[in-house]
Structures are given as C-alpha cells and as structure tokens.
C-alpha cells in the first residue's frame, strides 16, 4: 500500500466515524435533507477548495480567494443593478476577470521568484479594496434569472433538496480530480510540489504551470463567488473574510501535504464535508456555541499535521529497515 494514501484513508475514517457518532445521537442525520443541505451550504467553500488543493499541491498558497469571492459578489450585484446585462454575460465577464487576476499573480510569483504568500497577500488586499470601491453596502440581487437559479433543485427521495449549486460543487470536484490525476498538467503540478529543481530537470515547464495553477485557482474563486451570490442573494464587500484559511484547513484535513506534492482531490471533498458536518452537529445540538466549530477544526488540523509527520517518520523507518 502506498503510504501517501494513508492520510486520505484517515480522513475518510474520521468522516465516517463522525457521521456514526452523530447518527447515534440524532438518527435524522442520515436523511437526504441533511445531506442536501450539507452540499448546498458548503458549495462555495468546496469549489474554492478545489482551486486551493491544486495550488497547495504545487507547493504554493493562495490567500486571495476569500477576497475574490467577496469581490465577485459585489461585482455581480452592482453590474446587475446598474447595467441591463444578462447574469450569464456578467458571469462570463467575472470569470474572465478572476482568471486573469489569478494568472497575473502566478506570473509575478514565477517571474519575480517571489513567495506565493506575499504575492497572494497583496492580491487579497487588492481584491478586497476593489470590492469596497464598487460598494461598501450590501447590494441585493433582484434579477428574475437569479430567483430561478436559487429555486432550482431536484427533489431526492425523502424530500431532500439537491440544489443546483450543490451539484455544481460535486461537478467541480470531478473536474478537479480529472485535472489533478489524469492530465499532464496535473502531473506537472505534483512534480513542482515534489521539488522544483528536479521537476525542471524532468522537463516541467515551470512558469507555464505556475501561471496555470493560479489562474485555475482564480477561476475557482470566481465560480465560488457566483455560487455564494446565488446562495446569499446579495453582494457584500465584507463577506467571506477568512474563507481562504477555511479552504486551506479543508485541504489539509483532506490529507494534502501543506508543503506540496502529495494529496488527493477527493480528500479535499471529504475535508469540506467533515467541516460542514461539524457545523451541522452544532446546529442540531443547539446548546453549543458556534465557536466550537473553530475549536474542533483546529484540533483536527493539528491532528492531521501530526499524522502526516508520523507517516513520514514511519516510511523513513521502513526504508531504513529495507536497506538493512
């Protein structure tokens, strides 16, 4: 068995265990309603986490995504309020914009050999500032097309609602899996995360790959912004503060190595659902403060970082024993 997959199995095991504990206390948790809500409520987080997974796999980090989501919401709301454009046209403009924004950050990271942390931190302030310039108030979205998007769902057996944005998240994860695990671009991303110098020796086009990674993350942040605006029905420049950190947490809980080169897209999916499950539990319980979510996530994060260290030690030991 590959030791690299161990964190993924651990993630899945923890998720199932949490669900089991939850179910023993509240049997309704297995209903399709809860599952439908889990997907819907975490749709924007899941989509942005797909982009973040790829970025972290490449050995980088993208701190701008939370601000880009907020900017997207404000951009859409203001455009729909002030122009007569159809929402689909606005979506296309927005995606082009955020993708270009991500690509520009990737270009700077590669060309200036700057740490991704700094460049995307600057990007975060820039996007948040741009959102403020567009509007400092919460702008409601009242387009008939939006209402039909919001009410689009399939009724699952048991009266659970599988919403459009929930499905969109699942589709995004499928797309992410294909890109990460089944394309040469994905292989290049893993290679860069494993070691830049070696990756270059093996023929990875470093600059192109890095630009594409951040462009992809920017596109995912834009898509997440669209989903968030459908979810909340408004655009607000103060929304989704700290979402980039939540997304990073989901990626790490999903078993991806924060230093890059090792992890699975599917793990991030489970990571997002685990975090959503904790939140749902707190809502069900009713007596717990919602800050418990943060505490549990903090503990989980710590546990996973320790687990990964432990696994690395373990495989080193195994190698040493083989060598003897």
């Amino acid at each position: 068995m590959n030791t690299r997959a161990l964190p993924l199995y651990a993630t899945i095991a923890i998720f199932l265990l949490a669900w089991l504990v939850f179910w023993l206390q509240f049997p309704t948790v297995l209903s399709t309603r809860v599952i439908g809500n889990l997907l819907t409520d975490n749709a924007y987080l899941g989509i942005v986490a797909v982009g973040m997974t790829l970025v972290i796999l490449s050995g980088g980090i993208d701190l701008s995504v939370g601000a880009v989501i907020a900017f997207s919401g404000v951009f859409i709301a203001v455009m729909l309020r002030d122009t007569g454009l159809h929402p689909l046209v606005v979506f296309a403009m927005l995606l082009a914009l955020t993708t270009a924004f991500g690509a520009a950050m990737g270009f700077l990271i590669d060309r200036l050999a700057m740490p991704a942390f700094i460049v995307t931190l600057a990007g975060m302030f820039l996007a948040r500032g741009a959102a403020y310039i567009l509007s400092i108030d919460s702008v409601p979205i009242q387009h008939p097309f939006y209402q039909s998007l919001q009410s689009a769902y399939w009724l699952m057996p048991g009266r659970g609602r599988l919403t459009l944005i929930g499905v969109l998240m699942v589709l995004t994860f499928v797309l992410g899996m294909v890109i990460a695990h089944r394309t040469r671009f994905g292989a290049s991303v893993y290679a860069l995360g494993g070691g830049e110098a070696t990756a270059r020796l093996m023929g990875v086009r470093q600059g192109r790959t890095i630009v594409m990674v951040y462009a992809f993350s920017g596109a995912m942040a834009g898509l997440s912004g669209i989903v968030f605006s459908i979810y909340t029905g408004s655009g607000y420049s103060l929304a989704t503060v700290g979402t980039e950190l939540t997304a990073i947490a989901a990626v790490v809980i999903g078993g991806t190595l924060l230093t890059g080169g090792s992890g699975y897209m599917f793990g991030t999916f489970i990571g997002v659902l685990t975090m959503g499950l904790i939140q749902t539990y707190i809502v069900f319980d009713g007596s717990l403060s919602s800050w418990w979510t943060k505490i549990v996530i903090g503990i989980l994060l710590l546990a996973f970082i320790l687990l990964q260290k432990g696994i690395m030690k373990l495989s080193d030991l195994r190698l040493a024993r083989q060598a003897r």
């Binding site: 590959n2 690299r4 089944r182 394309t183 040469r184 292989a187 893993y190 494993g194 023929g203 080169g261």
Partner: protein, 503 residues
C-alpha cells in the same frame, strides 16, 4: 567516435573553469572522468548537458556539431544524465517518474493502465520487477538510481552520464547498479562515469580521463594504469618536486593536549583515534570524499559522533554541537567559506566580532569602540586588504575573506583550530601568507588541524599527516616520513594491502 569534445573553454568571473579540454567517448565504453574539487568535472558535464553554455570549443555527437541549451535539449539529442541525488520525484509513483512527459493518453487524458504496462516493460529490461504504482520514495536508493538510469536511457539513448551515482549506496547495491551499467555498455551506449571511489573506477571503467585545474591531464586505458600513477595525475605532483620547506620543524614529541578515542558515526566515517599535542599541526590527506571534512565535522560537533569520546588533560569533553565545541576551545574554518564561513553582506568588522559576540551572549554586547579596535587590530595583523573595516566581506577577494574567517576565530582565542582547505581558490601571494600565519599560530601554542588536497601544502605545514581513504583513517606519518611519495602510496594502497578486509 560517439562523442568528441575539442578544446572546450568555459570561463567564470575570475576563473577559467575549463581550459581547452579534449574528451572522446566511444560507443560501448565506460569512461571515467576523474579529478579533485575544482578540476572541472562538473563544469564539463554541465556544458555537455546544456546546464552551462560553453565559451569556446566544439562538441560533436556522432559527427554532428551540437550546442545544447537546456537539459531537455541535450536529452532530445541523446545525452542523458543521472545525478547523485536529485533525479526523480519521490512523491510520484515509479510509473509516473518513468513516463513523465511522455504519458500515454486516450482522449487527452492519461491512460493509467497503458502507463503501468509500459513502465513495467521498461523495468523488465533491467531485470527489475517492481510495483510501479507505489511511490518512488518508498524504494531504496539503489532502485531509485536504476529507475533514474532507465528513464535517462529511454529519453536519450546514446550517451549516459553518471555523476557519482554510487555515493550513497552500499556494496551490494553498487553491484546492482554496475550490472545495469555493464548491460547498457554491451548495448552500445557511451557511458561517462564520474566517481571518487577509485576501486569502483577500476572495477567498472574501460578508460580514464583525468582533469586538473580545468585542464585535461591524461586519457588512458584503465587496464594499463596503476593506482599510484593515477593519483599522481589527479593530485598533480611529481616525485622530484620535494619541498625543502620542512627544515627544522621537528621539535620532539610533546604531550597530547587533546585525545579522541574511537570517534565515529556509521555511514559517515569509521571510528578513529587522534591525539593532538599543543602547538602541533596535524594534516589530513586523502582524495575527495575520503572522509577528511567528515572527520573535522565530527570533531567540531557539526555532526554528532555516535561512538567515541574526547578528552583533554582535565577530563572528558562534550562535543555534541558546535556551541559545545567552541566552549571547549575549538574553532572550525569550513571549506566552503562563501556559504558556511562568512556573512557576505555584513562588514569586515561585524564578521570579525560575530563569533566573540555569539559566545558572550546577546545580553552583553561588545562596545562599539572595542569592536572597532578588534577589527582594526586583525586587519593590521593578518594584513587583510580592504578599504576599511566597514566594507562588506562579500566584496573582498577570496584570500582576504579567508583571513576574515581566521580573524573571527583568532579573536576568540581557541586552543584547537580546524582549517578545511584554507587555501582553496585564493591567489599565490595570499596562499603563502596563510601558510606563514599557520606557523605563527603554532609558535604561540595553538594546535591546528589542516585539511588539504594540496600535498605540498600539507608537507610544508604539518608535523604529522593522517591519511584517509574510503572514510577511514588508514595511515599516520610523522617527521621524516612526511614525503609526497609516502602520502600518495598510502592513498593509493588497496584495502587488501593494509587490512585484508573488503569494504
């Protein structure tokens, strides 16, 4: 001739790394490329693989002139390289590593099954049957090395350059890699083998080319070459060139000031004993990779010794870290002074005061006036050529940088100072000054250990020379025994000759 290189030149600011080097490689031979540090081996290889652009000369592959601009281009031309360590990615599977960049695809997506199948077929040629779906990092280094060779051959297929491929392998694993290399030779590849393990060179190669100081010294058939001659070529020293410099250096035997017993660390250096008397210079001789620097690192606590003990007249010494070693009165001027010795952006004054300040602790800063006095004092005493004490050390010449490193240690007044290649890369004038300085220090009662590839230098300064080979201390010469001939004989002797036990 598969590959011909004629009068290759490569210059770096201040040095000529390659100076009119010729090199020929036949199809179906293993050709060793040998030389000490700075001889130009890696520069030559980098020119071949496109990592460097040459400044002059000609490279022909199968008769056609080539000029690779990147490793990928060199690969496409047919020149593949396997380095000592950074070859492949441990976080990808064996199959991904083998097929990287050439993955079989169906409908634009990677066809995992075909990739597995092709990877297995590639490894079958080398007699390896691995689970190609497992991460490369979960396999031992020898397997990784063979996978790297398989990839390089599949990508290039004419010339294979092996740059110290066996440095981290044990004897059985070396055998495995050698079988693979011999198989490739029989398939008609031209193989360039760089190694500093002479046993392996004699075991594997058909011809040997020796470089020294950027020039080609000789190319000969391995069979017709004996070790002694080879080492003389590598170290560049003729027997008649005995130095008359060692007049009246023997001042009788002195009591040991420091005693090391059984100091060793598995995989790094075998346990050795060493005694250092007050005011004595112990020289360490040996080829590159023989364990000279490793011995020094062990004594200075840079790498913890797993076995052995150190003591002085007053009792045992703890040498668990450089900090502990400094507290015991040790000093160490490392080989690579640019990265390990100086802080290039700090001034001469700051560099000199650094060690002393570190020992005093941050809470008791050395007064500004005192630091100035210290710096001026050493600039004068060691004759450091600088426009002033505030000049950044990185802007000084190599010899003056070395003097600053020395000044830093002297300011701390150690009793035992280790100098690793103190004269590397510095000009002749500064060279002589450093040797003079070494003598002065010993007259003041300081003990030194000097590591050097220059045998003449060791002869000139040492009271005692310890010879290392294959990570072992194999001989000790004192007084009249210290001659170039004796040292080289000790380096050249085979293991069988002095221990009867195979490595």
């Amino acid at each position: 001739m598969l590959l011909t290189i004629r009068s290759l030149d490569k210059r770096f600011p201040g040095t000529r790394a390659l100076d009119g080097v010729d090199f020929d490689l036949r199809a179906g031979e293993v050709h060793a490329l040998l030389g000490e540090n700075g001889a130009g081996k890696s520069t030559l290889i980098k020119c071949l693989t496109g990592a460097y652009r040459r400044d002059g000369g000609e490279i022909r592959l199968e008769g056609a002139a080539i000029d690779p601009r990147s490793t990928v281009e060199a690969q496409d031309l047919g020149i593949g390289t396997v380095y000592q360590e950074v070859n492949l990615l441990p976080n990808l599977t064996v199959a991904q590593n083998l097929m990287f960049g050439r993955e079989p695809r169906r409908f634009g997506l990677i066809d995992a099954r075909a990739m597995r199948w092709q990877a297995r077929a590639m490894l079958a040629d080398y007699g390896l049957d691995l689970d190609v779906e497992r991460d490369l990092g979960s396999y031992p280094v020898a397997i990784r090395q063979i996978v790297a060779i398989a990839r390089a051959v599949a990508l290039s297929g004419k010339v294979l350059i092996l740059d110290e491929p066996t440095a981290s392998l044990d004897a059985r694993e070396v055998g495995m890699v050698f079988d693979v290399v011999r198989g490739l030779r029989d398939r008609g590849l031209g193989i360039v083998f760089v190694s500093h393990f002479l046993d392996q060179v004699f075991q594997l190669t058909d011809r040997i080319t020796v470089l020294r100081n950027g020039r080609k010294v000789v190319t000969e058939e391995t069979r017709g070459l004996d070790r002694m001659r080879l080492i003389r070529h590598m170290l560049g020293r003729e027997l008649e060139a005995e130095t008359a410099d060692r007049a009246a250096r023997d001042r009788g035997s002195r009591p040991a000031m420091l005693e090391f017993r059984g100091m060793g660390r598995p995989g790094l250096i075998e346990p050795f004993d060493l005694e250092i008397a007050q005011g004595e210079v112990a020289g360490l001789a040996g080829l590159l990779g023989s364990g000279r620097t490793e011995s020094a690192e062990l004594l200075f606590g840079l790498r913890g010794a797993r076995t052995g003990e150190a003591r002085d007249q007053s009792g045992p010494l703890q040498l668990r870290s450089p900090r502990a070693a400094i507290a015991a009165g040790f000093g160490f001027a490392p080989e690579d002074r640019k990265t390990d010795g100086i802080v290039a952006d700090l001034s001469v004054r700051e560099n000199i005061a650094l060690g002393l300040q570190a020992r005093r602790g941050w809470a008791r800063p050395i007064a500004r006036a005192e630091r100035n006095r210290l710096a001026d004092d050493y600039i004068r005493r060691l004759d450091i050529r600088t426009s002033g004490r505030e000049k950044p050390v990185g802007e000084l010449s190599g010899g003056n940088q070395q003097k600053v490193v020395l000044a830093r240690w002297l300011a701390m007044n150690p009793r035992f100072l280790i100098l690793d290649e103190p004269t590397r890369g510095i000009d002749v004038g500064a060279h002589a000054e450093i040797l003079r300085l070494i003598r002065e220090l010993t007259e003041q009662g300081m003990s030194l250990m000097v590591i050097s590839s220059e045998i003449d230098e060791l002869i000139a300064v040492s009271d005692r020379v310890i010879v290392l080979r294959d990570r072992r201390h194999v001989a000790q010469l004192a007084g009249e025994e210290i001659t170039g001939d004796r040292i080289m004989r000790a380096i050249a002797a085979t293991d069988a000759a002095d221990s009867g036990e195979a490595a």
